[in-house]
Amino acid sequence: MIGSDLVDRYLADLAAAAAGLPADRRAELLEDVREHIASALDGAAPDDKVAVRNVLERLGSPADIVAAEWAAEGVVKPVVAVAGAPAPVAAKLPPPPSVVSAGPPPPPAIGPFATAPLVPSPAISMPAPAVTVMNWGLMIGIAIGLIVSVLGLYAVARGLGASAWLIVVVGGAMMVLLGAEWIRTGGRVTPRQRAPLTLESFARASVIVLVGVSLLGGLPLAAIAAVLVLALLAVGAVVRAARGGSTAATGSRFSPEAAGLAAIVLGMAVLVLTGHVTTAITLTPPLALVAVLLLLLSAVRTRRRG
């Protein structure tokens, strides 16, 4: 009965809507609602879709339940739902324009996306200290991918639905991408050219620090961090391409432009799929600017190569 399509879909929607809640509270809310449905359908025929629809209708939409959860967390003024009474004004206020406070914080899945620029390109010259950081970054990235995958599988086992599978895919992709790079380079990225600290290498080192910050709990910062780092990466690469020569790709399968674009697309997809549409919309203008810069750089490089 509890496994009916309607109930499964409802719980999946609730899990997706609740993606930004703290993990323990999210799991508890899902468990409460699951238990409610089971109790409400106790005694109903297994294929009684009318009964299921009635129960789900009385429960209210997943969005309403999660909104009440955020209200109870103190994100907006608590709303007491009393039929027939006008809703409190606080519940109708539009979300603030600030990225940090616009709705629920981004889910943990956003953090790993900031590691996409870690995928190195031999076309980029780096100073020796940055190369050391880079090599550690590969190992750390693979470890993070493993941890994210395990956490994702745990979330899947707890019945948290599509978002949980997304986390598994993200963690797996990190392990495969960074692992392949590890094998290709033998665990060591060789600097082709000693150069003073560039914006690019600074951005790469920043990524490692910022990913750590985002995964440690400053989750809303992760999306902003990704934008800042990608912007630095893009600007640095564009500047170097304009100077000529040093960023010409030679036999590289990966490029900072491709990694940056992939991070943007995947990051935005995760935000939208997990219900953080407001945050995604707020991030669209700066991310679009970065994407344009990256595409411009790619065109310049292609022309130079030709």
């Binding site: 409460d32 609602v33 238990e35 409610h36 089971a38 106790d42 429960l59 109870a72 007491v80 739902a81």
Partner: protein
């Protein structure tokens, strides 16, 4: 208002969530959607106004039972005093308006 109605229900006996929702629904007009009770119950737990215990159920998985705490009783008593004064004030005004009309 709703949170104090919850406190009133769990004041005299332990009640599990679905039963609580059923009683609130039967009272009529208190809830627009039953699912929003769970965030409210979580907040009452966090604020220390209710406490919970898990008990086995004969028909399914264990259930979480809610009961009021001393802090919850104080909050409920304060609300009841405020509510009575508020209700009397409104009743008085409505009565006067009715007399004038």
């Amino acid at each position: 208002v709703l949170e104090h109605c919850v406190l009133a229900i769990v004041r005299d006996e332990e009640v599990y969530a679905f039963e609580l929702v059923t009683r609130l629904s039967e009272a009529g007009g208190l809830m627009t959607s039953e699912g929003t009770i769970y965030p409210l119950l979580a907040r009452l737990r966090r604020d220390g106004l209710v406490e919970t215990t898990w008990r086995e159920s004969v028909t399914g998985p264990p259930r979480r039972y809610y009961r009021i705490t001393p802090a919850g009783e104080r909050a409920l008593a304060a609300f009841m005093a405020d509510w009575t004064a508020f209700r009397d004030a409104v009743d008085g005004l409505l009565g006067n308006q009715g007399g004038l009309g």
